[in-house]
């Protein structure tokens, strides 16, 4: 009879310890789940960004614009400009050789 009286609290204590351990384990596990959720959401958003086409920052074309260069108002006062010289060079061989290299 006395044994029966002690068995009940012991069972209760064991249940409590067991419940505590389960709770502890669940508690240990829960932050990982949250972390994973956080990580997943981060990765997801990151993937979302990287899935978008890579676009460089917009740049303005700042190369100098060539305005019209007026030479009509310059009155020519000579007949011939420049010295002409003719040399007996045949460049066709060089052209053909270079064409083959470049093709």
């Amino acid at each position: 009879m006395l044994d029966n009286i002690y068995i009940l609290p012991v069972v209760i204590v064991v249940i409590i310890i067991y419940a505590f351990l389960i709770g502890y384990l669940i508690g240990k596990k829960t932050p990982h789940v949250l972390d994973n959720m956080k990580n997943n959401s981060f990765v997801f958003s990151k993937q979302k960004i990287s899935d978008q086409p890579q676009v460089d920052a917009p740049k303005i074309d700042s190369t100098k614009f060539v305005t019209k260069i007026a030479t009509d108002n310059l009155e020519k006062k000579y007949n011939e400009l420049g010295d002409i010289q003719t040399t007996s060079e045949n460049i066709s061989e060089s052209v053909n050789k270079l064409k083959k290299k470049k093709s």
Binding site: I69, L74, E75, K76, D83, T86, T87, I91, S94
Partner: protein, 335 residues
């Protein structure tokens, strides 16, 4: 075959055309000098005095003398002629540079023989020894293209030293190094089997010699230039003429500087190929025409530990026209 080559240089503009078995070159000195008359009488007197010279009259009444006549007139007036180009590109310092360059280019090339005739012109490479905001190759290229398009040409640009490779390295299977020593810059191209692998430039060349010698002797740049081009001197030899003596000394310094820059730029450069055989180095350009230039250049390459094995250092067959010839070959390849 239609097609033209054009060397747009700081000192000379050279047009080249293939006549089937011969090549025709048209040279023009890239210089101008402006005289602005103050009275109507002076206008008439100046115009009479300029008879036989190459000049143009501007809408404001001033006279713009062109080419070698400009240098002669500047010397006559103890002054320095202007250049439409500075260090290989259209001069940002000269107010009238763009207009005068456009006029000279139009006159030298004339109208295209057929619509969209191919024309290849040369541009300098980016300098390795100076960062200059005024040095804008892209803008220079656009200016020249615009002018040539007005004349009916389909114009394309190539590097100046690359053009020299095409003209002079045929026997070496288009493999070697070409150095174009112009007035404004020294351009370098390392080529392997017809492909340029390294191109760069340095900003010191013939004009630097003129400027430094002018400062040393108290003469104008134009006087120094005329003495240098007409004078009999050998680099490294003593000379009784003070101008030529200064020129000779500055030539030595320039060659030493250029070879040092070459050695420095090519040592450990990732794009320099592993050449199987020793290389030929070919040199062209007006500045290279001084006696003793090639010999001293060869020696200084050794002294300054040039990193590549060199077979020979030679002068181009025609140092003034070689770049224009290379541009002409390139224009025919494009056909």
């Amino acid at each position: 075959m239609a097609g033209c080559g054009l060397d747009v240089g700081t000192s000379f503009i050279v047009l080249s055309k293939d006549n089937g078995g011969s090549v025709e070159y048209k040279d023009f000195r890239d210089a101008f000098y402006i005289i602005k008359p103050t009275t109507p009488v002076a206008t008439k007197m100046i115009e009479k005095g300029l008879s036989g010279k190459v000049f143009i009259k501007d809408s404001d009444g001033s006279f713009i003398i062109l080419g070698k006549d400009a240098i002669e007139k500047a010397i006559e007036r103890n002054d320095t002629a202007n250049r439409p180009m500075y260090r290989g590109v259209v001069s940002a310092k000269e107010k009238d540079a763009k207009r005068v360059l456009a006029f000279i280019l139009k006159e030298v090339v004339g109208t295209a023989s057929e619509p969209n005739e191919k024309l290849v012109f040369c541009v300098p490479a980016q300098p390795i020894d100076q960062e200059d905001e005024d040095f804008d190759v892209g803008y220079h290229e656009d200016v020249v293209k615009t002018v040539l398009a007005e004349c009916g040409y389909d114009a394309r640009a190539i590097n100046e030293a690359e053009a020299l490779c095409y003209a002079e390295l045929e026997q070496d299977d288009y493999t070697g190094i070409a150095i174009s020593c112009g007035a404004g810059m020294t351009n370098v191209c390392v080529m392997l089997n017809g492909e340029p692998t390294v191109v760069f430039s340095t900003t010191k060349s013939g004009d630097w010699i003129d400027r430094m010698s002018a400062v040393a002797t108290g003469e104008s740049d134009s006087v120094v230039q005329a003495e240098k081009e007409g004078g009999n001197f050998t680099i490294g030899d003593p000379n009784d003429n003070p101008v030529l003596s200064a020129v000779s000394v500055y030539y030595e310094r320039l060659i030493d500087y250029t070879t040092k820059q070459l050695a420095h730029a090519l040592t450990g450069h990732k794009s320099v190929p592993k050449f199987k055989n020793p290389l030929k180095i070919v040199i062209a350009g007006g500045t290279s025409q001084a006696k003793g230039y090639i010999e001293l250049f060869r020696n200084q390459l050794l002294v300054n530990n040039f990193p590549l094995e060199v077979k020979e250092v030679v002068h181009a067959n025609d140092p003034i026209h070689a770049v224009a010839k290379g541009c002409l070959i390139a224009s025919q390849v494009l056909q």
